[in-house]
């Protein structure tokens, strides 16, 4: 199935729709997270639409601080990385409207974009000059390299199993029933990738970047007003995009919008439920964790695919 089934203008229209939809859904998930966390903590919690209020409020704030262009470009890079990541992954398999710009070999691009957003953010935040940002960036980059290893191994294993680096092909290979999902056909890769997902999502125990009790609050320390809103929407779409990617890689993609929404929700909440009851790791403990069992599972997955 070629991605150019629609002509350019309708395609652009649907791209915009899906990006806006992803942001909206990401914000709603953020609200549900806050609600769920509040319930775990025995509180009522904010309304589900609270992230929308926060988002619009920060847009309506004023600022006159100046930290240089790179500082301002940080959230833009982050949002661009998130949108780029999202646009490369087919959201609904077989639906040309939500197929986005999937092409052969896009999995490599996807990996690149995941790194790109964080790096851009790091560059911008370092420009703010706050020591907490700098400390957080070193933490974040070391954790990122650590979780990237099991994740890459899992992706390599799956690519080798499918024989293709296209997300589209990978989704296509999983069609035909729950039993064909890579979650079950390649459980080792799934273990590696889902453990890496915990680090990727930066909820506790791996929230060492934001860590309000240690380095409040890391890279976003100096950001406010519209930049803050760019970061919030970037974070929303990034979270959804990661979940969509995992859905495509392990849960057989989605053939309807509803299936996509449900699967994204469950993947997202895997990290929330783990995070609800754990304190935070120290940096070197987090790195050691990712280089331990997740990496071993990833290596085993690759070997298993190569051998059998």
């Amino acid at each position: 199935m070629s991605p150019s089934e629609l002509s350019l203008l309708p395609k652009l229209f649907w791209v915009v729709v899906s990006v806006v939809g992803a942001i909206a859904y990401g914000l709603v998930i953020g609200g549900i997270i806050r609600k769920v966390m509040a319930r775990i903590q025995g509180r009522i919690g904010p309304p589900v639409y609270q992230p929308y209020l926060d988002l619009f409020k920060v847009i309506f704030q004023r600022t006159a601080t100046w930290h240089g262009y790179m500082f301002y470009l940080g959230p833009v890079f982050r949002a661009a990385g998130a949108i780029g990541l999202f646009l490369l992954i087919p959201v609904v398999f077989g639906d040309p409207r939500f197929d986005n710009f999937s092409f052969n070999g896009d999995l490599l691009m996807v990996m690149y974009f995941m790194f790109f957003g964080c790096l851009g953010m790091a560059l911008g935040a370092a420009e703010g000059g706050h020591p907490h940002s700098v400390v957080a960036i070193t933490r974040g980059l070391s954790q990122m390299t650590a979780y990237e290893l099991p994740f890459s191994l899992a992706v390599v294993a799956i690519a080798a199993q499918t024989g293709s680096f296209s997300v589209h092909q990978i989704v296509a290979a999983q069609q035909g029933g729950v039993g064909h999902w890579f979650l079950f056909t390649n459980p080792l890769a799934a273990v590696a990738a889902f453990l890496a997902f915990l680090g990727m999502n930066m909820y506790s125990p791996f929230d060492i970047v934001l860590a309000p009790q240690e380095i409040p609050i890391g890279p976003p320390t100096e950001y406010n007003s519209a930049f803050m809103s760019a970061m919030m929407s970037g974070r929303a779409i990034f979270g959804v995009a990661k979940c969509v990617l995992y859905m495509d890689l392990f849960l057989g993609g989605a053939t309807t919008i509803l299936a996509a929404i449900v699967k994204v929700f469950f993947i997202y909440f895997w990290s929330i439920f783990v995070g609800a009851v754990f304190p935070r790791f120290r940096t070197e403990q987090a790195v050691r964790f990712f280089l331990g069992w997740p990496t071993a599972a990833g290596v085993a997955a690759v070997l298993a695919v190569m051998l059998f």
């Binding site: 919690g45 904010p46 609270q50 209020l53 926060d54 409020k57 601080t65 309000p212 409040p216 406010n224």
Partner: protein, 216 residues
């Protein structure tokens, strides 16, 4: 050092003064054509929408300046749960809107509070807790605590008591929300317009002034 207050006090946002001009209470057609309520202009409507968003998402700076901070914990946690009102704690001044001055301020603390306040992006509000911020309270004769906060920073809502109960804090926050929605809570604007007066007062009490004129 001249010890009298230099200028006549400008009207302050807080309830103790209450001198801000309000709209007439009973405005209606029978009061004359000029008093007839009119549809808000585009700008006013936008301002109202903005204020509504602001009022429903208050981010409080996590700075326990005094002993009132101890009642912020029950307020933030399971029993009183301020997050259900959209009030959340933010760890950095760059992202907060509300500064809670929780009780007395030592002079050394006042310097840090001023700095934190000025780093917050506008619009921003100050909620002052306890009788110590109103008139010095228990520490009126202490050489190291200020007796009246609104000489140094614009206070939007005072919550009295020593210490104010969490219920009082909730009521205070609801009052703040009401004022924000009506566009009355503009202490930050007052601070900007009367910056010289505030700075003069601040420099009088902070003897080793080494801050910039405005801490961006």
């Amino acid at each position: 050092m001249d010890d009298k207050i230099v200028k006549p006090e400008p009207p302050l946002g807080g309830p103790p003064q209450g001198s801000r001009p309000h709209a007439p209470v009973g405005d209606g057609c029978f009061l004359g054509e000029e008093m007839k309520p009119q549809a808000p202009s585009y700008k006013e409507a936008l301002a109202r929408i903005k204020n509504w968003f602001r009022a429903n998402s208050l981010w409080v700076m996590a700075y326990g300046t005094g002993c009132g901070a101890i009642e912020l914990r029950p307020l933030a946690t399971a029993r009183f749960d301020m997050e259900r009102l959209g009030i959340a704690m933010r760890p950095t001044p760059r992202q907060s809107n509300v500064l809670i001055v929780s009780g007395y301020l030592a002079v050394k603390s006042l310097k840090r509070v001023i700095r934190s306040y000025e780093q917050m992006p506008s619009p921003k509000w100050i909620v002052a807790l306890g009788s110590c911020t109103i008139n010095g309270g228990m520490y009126w004769d202490s050489y190291n605590t200020i007796n009246r906060l609104d000489l140094y920073l614009p206070v939007d809502v005072y919550i009295n008591g020593c210490m104010p109960r969490p219920e009082a804090l909730v009521a205070g926050f609801q009052e703040l929300m009401r004022r924000i929605k009506k566009g009355e809570a503009d202490g930050w604007r007052h601070y900007m317009e009367n910056l010289d007066w505030y700075k003069e007062n601040q420099k009088k009490i902070i003897t080793d002034w080494d801050l910039p004129e405005y801490n961006w």
